[in-house]
Structures are given as C-alpha cells and as structure tokens.
Subunit: 110 residues, 4 copies
C-alpha cells in the first residue's frame, strides 16, 4: 500500500495472519478439544493476542505513530501466546504464527 514502508507492510501482514490464526484456533481447535485447551489462562492469552494483533495492524494501516507502543505490547503478547500453545503440544501452526509476528513487531519498535 502507498505511503507505507515494506517493513511496515510485512508487519501488517504478520499481524493480520496471527490475528486470524489465534482467532480460528481458539474458536475451533481449542473449543472442540476442550480440557486444558479451554483453561481460562490459555484461552485468554489467545483472545488477547488476537485482539492486540488486530489493533496493531489497524494502527499501522492508519499511519498512527502510536503503532510503536501497540506493536511492543503485541510482541510480548505473541511471545506469551506462543509459549502457552507450545505447552499444549498440538498447536504448531499457532506457535509459528505468533513467533513470526513477535519478531516482526520487535523490528518495528526498534
């Protein structure tokens, strides 16, 4: 998109991909598995990660300077979510999306 650096375009895509992955995984995989997949702490981490990723993408799309603070929060949210998904053992796609998004958000905040 015009007016947006390639680094930021990549971060927007990573955030939207991670938002989509966390949302779909929580509301399909986790809900259908049940048990520790719907344990409040894990499920909240996924819901928070999805929301923050969605908002980080939005702030970059509107060229708001506040995206830096939100991308920093997003990077830490993605790391927490990746760790929680890794501990469950069957959420590799979500772990990968979170780690990749965290790296991209960290580069943006440098």
């Amino acid at each position: 998109m015009e007016n947006v650096s390639s680094e930021m375009n990549e971060c927007i895509e990573e955030c939207l991909r991670c938002y989509a992955m966390c949302t779909a995984a929580a509301m399909n995989h986790c809900l259908e598995r049940g048990g520790e997949h719907v344990e409040p702490e894990h499920f909240r981490l996924m819901a928070a990660c999805a929301e923050i990723c969605r908002t980080a993408a939005h702030l970059m799309l509107i060229s708001s300077p506040l995206h830096k603070e939100i991308c920093a929060a997003c990077a830490s949210s993605c790391q927490n979510c990746a760790e929680s998904c890794e501990a469950l053992g069957d959420m590799e796609e979500c772990v990968a999306a979170c780690r990749s998004c965290a790296e991209s958000c960290e580069r943006i905040t440098e």
Copy 2:
C-alpha cells in the same frame, strides 16, 4: 486453517485484504488528497466497507453461521465502495480489492 473450507479460507483472505486496503486508502490517500476524497458520503462508504469486511472475516474465522448474512451485506457494501472509488479515478487498487471481495462474498452466500 483447519475446519474451514478452501472457499471460506479464500473469502476470509479477500475480506482481510479489502479491509486493509479500504482502511489504508481512506486514512492515507483520501485524507491527503482532500477535496472530494473526504466528501462525507464517499468517506463513510470506505469506513463502512472496512468495518464490515473486518467483521465478515471474524465471523468466518469463528465458524459462526451468521457469516452468511454479514457476507451478503459485505458484498453490497463492497460494490458501493467500488463505484464510489471508481468515480474518483485514482483509486484503482481499492476498486479491484472491493470487486474481488464482493465476488468472493457472493459465492459464500449462495
């Protein structure tokens, strides 16, 4: 993503792409051009299109049966936005994203 048909996956991607395109175009291209680009009717069409695309994607991601009604509204919103952007003459990328999303949403609601 698991549990989701390839047709729905494609529609989710179209909706997120159109959301991103309308948001960035409104908040960068239109705001910076000014004049008829920030005329209330045009600008509201773009903002409404962005919001409905974002929500249509979300309802598909959570596997809600209500996505059909929202995708139908999304298709008509995208058509309206495409026409308004086409009349301005310098928003081809946005026109293309809206038309492509409208077609994808129509297929989902069949």
Copy 3:
C-alpha cells in the same frame, strides 16, 4: 451525539452494553465454569453476538445506511444468544442484555 436520533442513540448504547456483557460473560463466567458453558455451539453464539453488537454500534456511530442490515442480523444473533444463555440457567444478566438489545435493533430496522 449530534446528528443522531434518540432512537438510534439508544440502540448504540444497547449494542455496546450487550457487546460488553457477552464478552465479559464468555471470557469470565463461562470460561471459569467450564463444562457446558464452553461447549462450542454456546460459546460461538456468545462470541458472534459480541462481535455483531460491536459492529452494529460502529455502523450507527458512523451514520452508515448499512446499519439496517447489520441491526437485523444483530437482533437475530441476540435472540439466539439469549436462548442459549437461558438454557444454562445462571446467566440472567446476559439474557436480559441480549433481549433488550434485540428489541432495540428490531425497532431500528422497521
């Protein structure tokens, strides 16, 4: 808010209240209770209701004519969510918020 009828203002408030109620009830009460409270069909109804209420409010706030279609979908989503919550027996506040929002959305779409 200026430019907005009192009927629409009331509907915006109902939608935001119902969004807040469904979100908080799903992510606190339901997750902590577990069992049938996190059964996929119930939980998805709550998540879809929250999202549609949030979007219906947004479209009214931006004065988009598309709010009518979304408010119609919102009314039906709220009815479904109210019935699912009623069957669980311990979610009276959520039932009341959904029924009140459904009525307000129906008036808007008349």
Copy 4:
C-alpha cells in the same frame, strides 16, 4: 460485571464512551465541517484514539493483564486527541470525553 473491580468497570465505560464519541465526532462533525477538521494529523488522532479506546475496553472485559500497557497507550492517545480537538474550538464534548477517559486509564495503570 462479575469478576471486575468497580474501578475497572468505570474505566471500561469511559473507554467505550470515548470510543463512541471520537468515532461519531470524526465521521459526522469533522467530515461535515471539512477544512482543518479533516486535516490528516487531526483526523488520524481521532481514529487512533477511537481504536485504542475500543481495544482497551476489550482487554479489560476479557480480564487480560495486558490491559495495563494498552490503557497507558490509551491515556496518552486521549491526551493528544483532546489537545487537537481543543485547538479546533467547537469540539468540547469530545475534549471532555477524552480527558475523562485519560484520567481513568491513568488510574488503572498505577
């Protein structure tokens, strides 16, 4: 809402009120006035403030510990938006909503 302190409930309400005010003011008052009301910097501040308020409310509603970082960003966003609205001279309601929300967000982050 259950599980939520009265201080947090108040902050959720302030964030939703400020989100609604900034969204409606930008998309009605500012678009219809035109001129400096749709100058990119001002309009982006309003759009960013609306989005961050909406997300801060969401994270509190889902009981995510990340709400602290987002409420801190929200407080600074509201201050910036209040100053930009104050300079325009005819947006007192928006100024008041932003200042009140900023104070509430600051108390939450202490």
